[in-house]
Subunit: 241 residues, 2 copies
DNA sequence: CGGGTTGCATAACGATGTTGTGTTACCGAT
DNA sequence: ATCGGTAACACAACATCGTTATGCAACCCG
């Protein structure tokens, strides 16, 4: 659907202001860009295709965003917001270790759902000359605050030897991030497939920071049950795509 | 130095065969490409610059490699060979856990030394339309065999609860890979800088697979000493670039 | 109701990977 | 010895990329 022609028709009938920055076009561009990326990978995004998809010309990108990479930046920020939203689906319970494991599953779920965006967000893929700035990274670190809060509760529960929730949260992040990155890269195949590696990884990590193995196993199992309920994956895990 | 003109002079004086596939040109292209990538990042590699650097025309890329992405593929394979070589600098001792930790440091060292190539090797960066194939990934998995061997010795030493060296090696890989990826991405800043996260991560992992905390701490400390000796980092660690 | 300004379609520019075109030089057979 | 076949590759063209210039048309304000 060509946005521009629709808008032209609208402006002929209803009295509107098609001049002056139009948030509708801006939104249409962002949505079209996100669609192009998820459908055609990072290489699928181009000014021409974007303009065609949104029904405008390539100039719209520059009037609304200044450059292609600035548009990508907005999408990246949007991606972090989505990650944050995914984290918020994990509600605190009286088993903070299970909560933490579920946050790990949520991170993985979010990454696998938005594979290409994930690569851009964390500095891997170079997309249309986009490069992360420190401000962008702040968005990323901010989303980690959910994990830090959970780590604090883990420590308060007495199950962890750690006294620093920040380092604990980072360890969880690094472990899950590494798993997901290599999973998306296609490096985790049977017999060491991504599902198996993921379970081993979070289990070892919990034990590594002081939890008792049997308690960890119980909490990890609970987190898997909760994941099925909240995120509704058909086979109970994520699938290796 | 323009390779082509030199070759022309050589062929006028000494009797050589500048026609028929010339491995010298092939090598010159690969070396020039690697140089361009390390100097100018993934965006710094282009057929024109490559041709100028090697003193040939852009056609040389196609006669010797078929396409730009095939040339990248060769460089990726070269990168895996370099990683394997780095692993071999870690000699087995009677403290296999320290060996394993040192392998982790070696992985990180190699990644930080060849940052841009690292991103390409593990599926993050898209470079000149290059995409990993399963065969490429085999190169990556092969280099893991050094780690698996070490994991086997760790298990035999009785310090680990695990009975599967493969999953143990994978866990080490995932943990270190995640740390390094986010370090290169610029996400690990004080107070949770990369050095600190790395130490915490490998320590927690060893404990997580069954090692006793005090033994782990000792082995990790030994691995750091050995790293300083073998890899000769000035500040004893890697520096966060 | 006209000048200023703003949005943006069109077209152009430089650079990209890749593909024709043509020349040049080697090789092998006669 | 020489001549045709073939392989290498310099040069130029092509499509596409992000970006920038140009110009027109429409809103805003005086």
């Amino acid at each position: 659907m060509l946005y521009n022609t629709v808008m032209a028709m609208l402006c002929n009938t209803v009295q509107m202001s098609p001049r002056r920055h139009d948030p509708n076009i801006r939104l249409a561009l962002i949505e079209a860009a996100a669609r192009l990326i998820t459908e055609g990978g990072t290489a699928g995004l181009s000014t021409r295709r974007l303009a065609a998809e949104a029904g405008t010309s390539t100039m719209a990108v520059y009037t609304y965003f200044g450059s292609m990479s600035e548009l990508v930046r907005e999408i990246v920020h949007d991606g972090f917001a989505r990650l944050d939203h995914t984290f918020r689906l994990v509600e605190p319970t009286d088993d903070p270790v299970a909560d933490m494991a579920l946050l790990g599953r949520a991170y993985r779920y979010n990454a696998l759902t938005n594979r290409d965006m994930f690569g851009v967000m964390f500095g891997g893929s170079s997309l249309a000359g986009f490069a992360l700035t420190d401000e962008d990274r702040q968005y990323g670190r901010y989303t980690l605050s959910s994990v830090i809060k959970c780590a604090t509760r883990c420590i308060e529960s007495g199950r962890f030897r750690h006294d620093d929730a920040g380092i604990m949260a980072h360890q969880m992040w690094l472990a899950v991030h590494g798993t997901v990155t290599l999973e998306i890269g296609g490096y985790l195949a049977a017999p060491y497939d991504a599902d198996r590696c993921f379970e081993s990884q979070i289990t070892a990590l919990m034990i590594g920071v002081g939890d008792q193995p049997d308690l960890t196993n119980k909490s990890v199992a609970i987190s898997l049950e909760r994941f099925r309920i909240v995120f509704g994956s058909p086979d109970g895990q994520h699938g290796t795509g």
